[in-house]
Amino acid sequence: MKKAQLLAAMQAILPEQLILSSQESQAPFECDGLSAYRQLPLLTVLPETIEQIQAVCKLCHQHTIPLVARGAGTGLSGGALPHEQGVLLSLAKFNQIVAIDQHNRSARVQPGVRNLAISEAVSHYGLYYAPDPSSQIACTIGGNVAENSGGVHCLKYGLTVHNILQIKIVTAAGELLTIGTQALDSPGYDLLALMTGSEGLLGIIVEVTVKLLPKPERAQVILAAFDDVAKAGRAVADIIAAGIIPAGLEMMDKLAIQAAEAFVHAGYPLTAEAILLCEIDGNNEEVSEHIMQVHSVLENNDPISFDTAQSEQQRQLFWAGRKAAFPAVGRISPDYYCMDGTIPKAQLATVLQEIQRLSAHYGLAVANVFHAGDGNLHPLILYDASQPGELLKAEHFGADILKLCVQVGGSITGEHGVGIEKIDQMCTQFAADELAQFHAIKAAFDPNGILNPGKAVPTLHRCAELGAMHVHHGQLPHPQLERF
């Protein structure tokens, strides 16, 4: 459909002021957190009611027009990148907390409510919403569900999928469905799990009921520094082996430490090759007992120093360095490219060594930030986009890291999603039959394929073509695929 026709059709179902069609008005929507990719849609719509969303879906479904849903646009994999022939649907106006149920410890919220706003709204009941992605000030719950967002505390408290009860979706055909119940499980297939992390390909999330937890009585953090990354890795394994599940267990390597320290002066030792931040939370006695145990585990792993935060202020400062790691790296390099692979923890030292080798090979520095407890590695590749060819080099470096993650038994994405960014690496992680099963699932929800097309799951054709480009020693990757 031509833009003028589409605009006229849209004007028939939505008030004029909810439709953006000019280049200037749509510019804020041309990218998400992965700003290397930019694209203007034909139209952007900002519906205010579920009925309006249904009408937009029906229109797009009928005419097979691509439809991309967008929350706050903080995603890091280009999942909300608009489609050049399609409509971008912003859920920004769905920003209300519908109901808080103190007794059932749940809250029903619209998808455009910010993650942190939920915890703030229920704080006076002594409750909170546990998943805390680092973008929690800005990111919205609808996007969290679409991406199955994690956060620093997900080793103990789980991902989004573990912390929601029910969602309402509008299907591609415009039907409003309720998935899940207000109870702890639901009859039939676990569609709630299937929808969570489906990156806007199966339906548009229009309401979310989240689970709330009692706020921990106390949190305490230990900062330990090591002269060897492998020692830090062993300390992580030993903490788990001691039977302790910390609320957060984070590792940073030397370059990340130096960048963070220069930025926020958190008191990180600059000579360390690696630091660990281990946070314990819960009730008072539990925290004291586990902190003592962690102390003795750390002592046995030959740290160059370790320190327990003596006050809430110092705890915040220890965390400030970790939380500011990304912007801190942004200060020492014109650009950086953030990766999101997961690996079995035992492979950490091997993987970091290989990343260093690749770093030398590509001539690009890399800073590593690691959710050590759950094996989620965020290598930040430093590059300069103004230098011709550097972005491409950084992307190749990143692709090599993800391949490495899959080789050691991990995954190409732990929490940022596939989006447009890692679509080619999906061909590395999944075989053709598996991708075909994904497409069959997609067709069960969205037969015309209008929702977020081109994201998250590559076509077999794309994988085959990619394979053809990457012939290595005469061996075709994905030999089982048909070649077109």
Binding site: L177, L184, D190, L191, A193, A241, G410, G414, A440, A444
Partner: protein, 351 residues
Amino acid sequence: MADQTHVLQQQVLQAIDNRQPLTISAGQTKAFLSPAPTGDILSVADHQGIVSYQPTELVVTVRAGTKLRELQLALAEHNQYLPFEPPHFGNDATIGGTIAAGLSGSSRPFTGSARDYVLGCKIINGRGQVLQFGGQVMKNVAGYDVSRLMVGAMGTLGVLLEISLKVLPVPASECYLSQFHTPQDALLLMQTLASQNLPLSGLGYDGEAVHIRLAGAAAAVRSAQQKLGGQHHDPDIFWSAINEQQHPFFAGDIPLWRIAVPPATAELPITGKQLVDWAGGLRWVKTDETSDNLFKLAARHHGHAQLFRSSQKAANRRQPLADGIRQLHIQLKHSFDPQAIFNRGQLYSDF
């Protein structure tokens, strides 16, 4: 025992060729949940063994026919466990059946459900293809979450071959208390306790006493115990007994219903005995009331009902699905199993 993947795949391919329906079976301990099998039996009972287990990774990968007890013993050697406390309902229970049925025990509101601990799976779909989803790492958002979709699907979407599960360290200390209360007070007490920062791993009510199970760091359990008070009791009398449905409440011929509701829901107005688990979120009910009545009542309370055990045949054992959701189920079933080979009628009668 040996890997039976190839043998099972050949059987499935044969069944597809012959358009012969299959009902997947292993330990037969949860057969009572579904109507009689359709077509031939595909037994995964010999597909056994722990494929990999690295305690410090908190992940175990296990073949579907492995006995649940055997898996639990292997984890216990490293002081770890399955935190969703799956019921066995017999010595032959397998991990495949446990995941297919998707049942979780009393710790569910506090430590999570079966699906919460599933990280990855290997299946045979209805095209006879061996497929792998998810992984052996804690976090993995590549592709749709097919692994968790398998939990509770009663084998209707494919044959489970391998399952990767997150495991956790066994809590350092446990303690079991009980306090006598009226039904109304019992439900209020559960709400109050569940809203506090206590090391809880079970809150149930048997009609006379609220049973409180504490689990966690020794000092935390000790202080909670002092704070709460109540009588100490033997865990086997209540907790193990209700998990395995050996408690006297479950005896007798009256149909047993499982009704999941939001935890603060008042006592359900049903003629018959009730036992409360999941801090109020799960109500076991022994009643002769009609399915229709109970489905309506559960829906009114934003939950759902399931006829769990009955000596009589019943057409509709599970809460009816809303039209749009039912349609999605049928389409999803078709996407995995286009010829409807697997487990016809084992979840719902129409797919």
